[in-house]
């Protein structure tokens, strides 16, 4: 176990290094810089700025300096928001994103699994068909389309829910719905197909032959085995929700980290772009890692260490 974690950790560092390098050079490869949009800057001041931020040096030197800073835990200062450290921007805007993301994940799992289970139990009947049509829609329609549709119907037409902002429980509904729609659809389909497989498994017949009632069979024997693929999906789903929130926060005007990210990119705020990219990277790697660990607890057949059974 310890070896497994150490091993994983090493690979995380490697992927992080690749992520940082790729993002850094790609970002620099795009023409323009943070100060292009400010038109009336005299050349002298521009040069001073360049010098201050080190833009006058070759890119590889900037890169090495940045790497050195990051290793020391220094993510730099925003080039647009005066005197704000990147780490401050991230911690300051993380709270709403975290709340939104967590609620969306929980909602996605609960609703997705429930729909999947129901669809499997009513296999080839009306409920199953309706669920699966919705699921296909959910997977096919992008979240920003769902978001705007929801805004139009529930906020602008029906006035049931607020259109924008993030000031209380009511403000959660629309962004969470938009964010979790795709994962719900995906989880529902996953759960359904694996439930159907489990329902026809021999051990379910054994459970019936034991005289267990169907509720005991369903909860003790079917669902546990049926949701295993969902556990695998938790990692990619977190990625989906995190990246989805970049767009969703923008649409709903939520001042979360996703919105900061978009602002940073449109303003060419190099340190912030890098900082948030690294942050997202770490977040996703942790999600993946937790998924791997979670799998061991759900499925006793899986052991983390490779090689012989311990």
């Amino acid at each position: 176990m310890v070896r497994y974690i150490a091993n994983k950790f090493f690979y995380m560092l490697v992927s992080l290094f690749i992520l940082i390098s790729a993002t850094f050079f790609l970002m620099k490869a795009i023409p323009g810089d943070p100060f292009t949009s400010e038109k009336k800057v005299p050349d002298q001041i521009r040069e001073r700025l360049y010098e201050q931020y080190g833009f006058d040096k070759p890119v590889y030197q900037q890169y090495l300096k940045y790497l050195g800073d990051v290793v020391q835990g220094d993510f730099g200062i925003s080039m647009k928001k005066i005197n704000r450290e990147v780490s401050d921007i991230i911690t300051g805007s993380f709270a709403p994103s975290l709340k939104l993301g967590l609620v969306a994940i929980v909602v996605a799992v609960i609703i997705g699994v429930s729909f999947g289970v129901l669809a499997a139990l009513y296999h080839r009947r009306l409920l199953d068909n309706i669920t699966m049509v919705l699921a296909v829609l959910g997977i096919a329609v992008p979240s920003f389309v769902i978001a705007t549709l929801l805004q139009y119907v529930f906020a602008s037409k029906l006035h049931w829910l607020p259109t924008m902002g993030f000031k209380g429980p009511l403000y959660y509904f629309l962004p969470v719905a938009a964010l979790s729609a795709q994962p719900i659809a995906f989880i529902a389909r996953l759960t359904r197909s694996s439930m159907l497989e489990v329902l026809h498994a021999d051990y379910i017949k054994t459970a019936k032959a034991k005289g267990l009632n169907w509720i005991a069979i369903l909860f003790r024997h079917v669902i546990r085995n049926g949701i295993m693929p969902v556990v695998t999906y938790l990692g990619p789903m977190t990625a989906n929700i995190v990246t989805g929130s970049v767009v969703i926060e923008q649409i709903f005007g939520i001042g979360g980290i996703g919105k900061q990210f978009v602002d940073a990119i449109s303003g060419r705020d190099y340190p912030v772009i890098m900082g948030i990219t690294i942050f997202y990277g770490v977040l996703l790697m942790i999600a993946r890692f937790i998924t791997d660990i979670a799998y061991v607890f759900v499925d006793p057949r899986i052991k983390l260490s490779k090689g012989k059974e311990g």
Binding site: K208, G211, P300
Partner: protein, 332 residues
């Protein structure tokens, strides 16, 4: 012998796209107390369907029980509600399935899969059930039962898993055990061990056993009586000795002939029964075996024969065995 189970004129069908598969077409048999009865026949002859119908385990739809009675300890199982059946399953009738590799839930500890049935039917506390569960594991010959109790099925071999299945099936001391091809998926050496465990448990607990198999060797080693099924019907029934020493029905004879023997010469081919069983969506009106039978006569294709009785226990359904056919002086 006092019968514990009586199956009377059982008809079971399955609804499929092309019509109705008449899988069981008028089964009649009895199982006495403490007796072991084998149901043999090839795949699709209705053995498993009969067994699962006794437990009411086949889902309906697509299955339909057209008619008949299944009297277990005097009660008609076909008239029971689902709830009432739950009280019978696992408690009064235990069941073992063909493939031990898939019959146990892979994500639940073996011990829990045994205690589950004890807690359900014997109203035991978790601690009592655990003690009893370990006891059952010892009884079926699992060494180091205390440690094994907390392991998962994937840590057991096939034979060990089948022992666990037997432990589960017999945990509540049922009066009837239905073993649906319990050794088909196992190695021959393990098969013998499993049969020994079943025999020993039977002697200890006095359980009646219905053994479904297509392995006549298993039948010879274990059973008192044999029921030979073909195309959803009983074609011959008798004690083990009557069937092996004095088979009457051409199908039974064919089955015995097609079995490899120890005294067989090297290279000598087995004698198969030529042909395939009839399509049970449109079962033949006459004897279902007629198309494959070398002694088939005109009447065989027109009227399904009734049983000819040879002794209290031995009877077979074949026109060639009919008293009137014998008068013609053509012994088969």
């Amino acid at each position: 012998m006092e019968p514990i189970l009586q199956v009377k004129d059982l008809h079971v069908s399955f609804q499929v796209k092309g019509g109705e598969v008449k899988a069981v077409r008028g089964m009649n048999f009895e199982v006495g107390k403490g007796e072991t009865v084998a149901i043999v026949g090839e795949s699709g002859s209705g053995k498993s369907v009969t067994a699962q119908t006794i437990m009411r385990l086949i889902p309906s739809p697509p299955s339909i029980i057209r008619q008949g009675e299944i009297l277990f300890q005097g009660q008609d199982m076909l008239k029971k509600t689902n709830k009432e059946m739950e009280a019978v399953r696992g408690k009064d009738i235990g069941m073992i399935f063909q493939d031990p590799m898939t019959s146990l839930n892979p994500t639940i500890k073996v011990g829990k899969q045994i205690t589950e049935v004890l807690i359900k039917h014997q109203k035991m506390t978790a601690a009592q059930a655990k003690r009893e569960g370990i006891e059952m594991l010892k009884l079926v010959g699992i060494k180091n039962a205390e440690a094994r109790f907390n392991q998962y099925p994937h840590e057991f071999s096939g034979g060990m898993r089948q022992r666990v299945m037997i432990a589960i099936a017999l945990a509540c001391r049922p009066s009837l055990l239905i073993a649906d091809e319990p050794t088909t998926a196992l190695d021959v050496t393990i098969q013998a061990q499993i049969m020994d465990v079943m025999k020993e448990m039977q002697q200890r607990l006095g359980t009646s056993i219905i053994l479904i198999t297509h392995d006549l060797g298993v039948v010879a080693g274990m059973c008192d009586r044999v029921i030979v099924m073909y195309a959803g019907e009983v074609v011959e029934t008798g004690t083990k000795w009557e069937i092996f020493k004095n088979p009457q029905h051409p199908y039974t004879k064919g089955l015995l002939r097609s079995m490899p023997r120890l005294d067989q010469k090297k290279g000598e081919p087995l004698i198969p029964i030529i042909g395939t069983p009839p399509d049970l969506i449109k079962p033949p009106i006459g004897c279902p075996f007629a198309a494959r039978c070398e002694h088939a006569m005109k009447i065989c294709e027109q009227i399904d024969p009734s049983a000819t009785v040879f002794s209290d226990s031995h009877s077979a359904r074949c026109w060639d065995l009919h008293p009137m056919a014998r008068e013609g002086g053509q012994p088969s």
